[in-house]
Symmetry: C2
Subunit: 193 residues, 2 copies
């Protein structure tokens, strides 16, 4: 069987050392007999003068080529994962590619939203939990929005979180490697129901 | 031609009056000869005891049935659009369905990130703008992350923003209606390159 290609989604691209982190992830992939495709390899533009469009097209092309995705879902500048990463997760999922993910910050979406709003949620008359912003908060004990959590669960996986807090959540690769170990233990990509 | 079905994506589902807002959007769709599919219609569970999974599957089924998507991309509890909505945008885009979107809060992603971080961005040695969190910030003048903005641009559209500030950004339907007007003016859905 050809070596599985893994698209490495995440806000890692925004790190000043994005290229080095991408290479570190690719080395870890190789250790498990897998090939990592890093979007940081392609963010160069295509000479069109349209850098934003060029990055977009390069990321889509790389995902189209990938067999599956491992997404860094560590909350980024807010309560949820990086929005570009979440778009990519939806894109890959729709194409039938298995999606895995990890998050290096502890806690549930509910806990983070409560912290963000600075007030405890209260139960509404419709049975849902509401924030002080008078918008409901998902209460499923999940790491992030249910569309993200369920997409990963649909492929028989969970969002991997570190067993102990990590010093550098946006760079730590422990939970990423746990995803690789899970993948390498499978003889084929996880089947979708 | 059969009436186009539009999946109504957005954090509207978290409003206490989500059902009423969904119905108001559906009435506006009908005004332009379009059919709105509202996820608030289906969030009832499927008797499996797995409400999160049931919502997920219902949203996917509704998107699969839709011809296109109009997403409420108004920033939600942070600098970006609601993450569930962004997942759905990626999902629908991958399936080749045209995606439109609107945002009822003014400003660019860059401006919102600077406000969120409470400090002006600075230029890094690699030419990118960085926040005080030492992570790059996209500087393309876009309303949100480039994956979102470019997906909409790929279908020949832009993220619609209100001409003047609106009083209730999570409920205002002016920009939503602008999307409908644009759609109704087309004899067929926008072609993708």
């Amino acid at each position: 069987m050809a070596m599985s290609k893994i698209y490495l989604a995440g806000p890692d691209v925004f790190l000043p050392d994005a290229v080095e982190i991408g290479q570190a992830k690719q080395r870890l992939c190789a250790k498990y007999g897998l090939e990592g495709l890093s979007p940081s390899d392609s963010e160069i533009g295509d000479g069109s003068g349209d850098l934003s469009g060029a990055i977009f097209r390069a990321c889509l092309a790389m995902m189209n080529q990938a067999d599956l995705v491992i997404a860094n879902l560590t909350p980024f500048r807010g309560v949820s994962a990086d929005s570009g990463t979440v778009f990519e997760l939806g894109y890959a999922f729709a194409l039938g590619k298995p999606v895995l993910g990890y998050s290096n910050l502890p806690g549930t979406l509910l806990e983070r939203v409560a912290g963000h709003l600075g007030a405890e949620p209260t139960r509404g008359p419709d049975g849902r939990l509401y924030g002080i912003d008078r918008m409901a908060i998902e209460d499923f004990g999940q790491v992030d929005n249910l569309m993200i959590a369920e997409a990963i669960r649909a492929d028989g996986c969970r969002i991997v979180v570190p067993a102990v807090p990590v010093a550098d959540p946006l760079r730590d690769l422990g939970a990423f490697e746990t995803c690789l170990v899970a993948l390498a233990g499978l003889t084929q990509p996880p089947a979708r129901d």
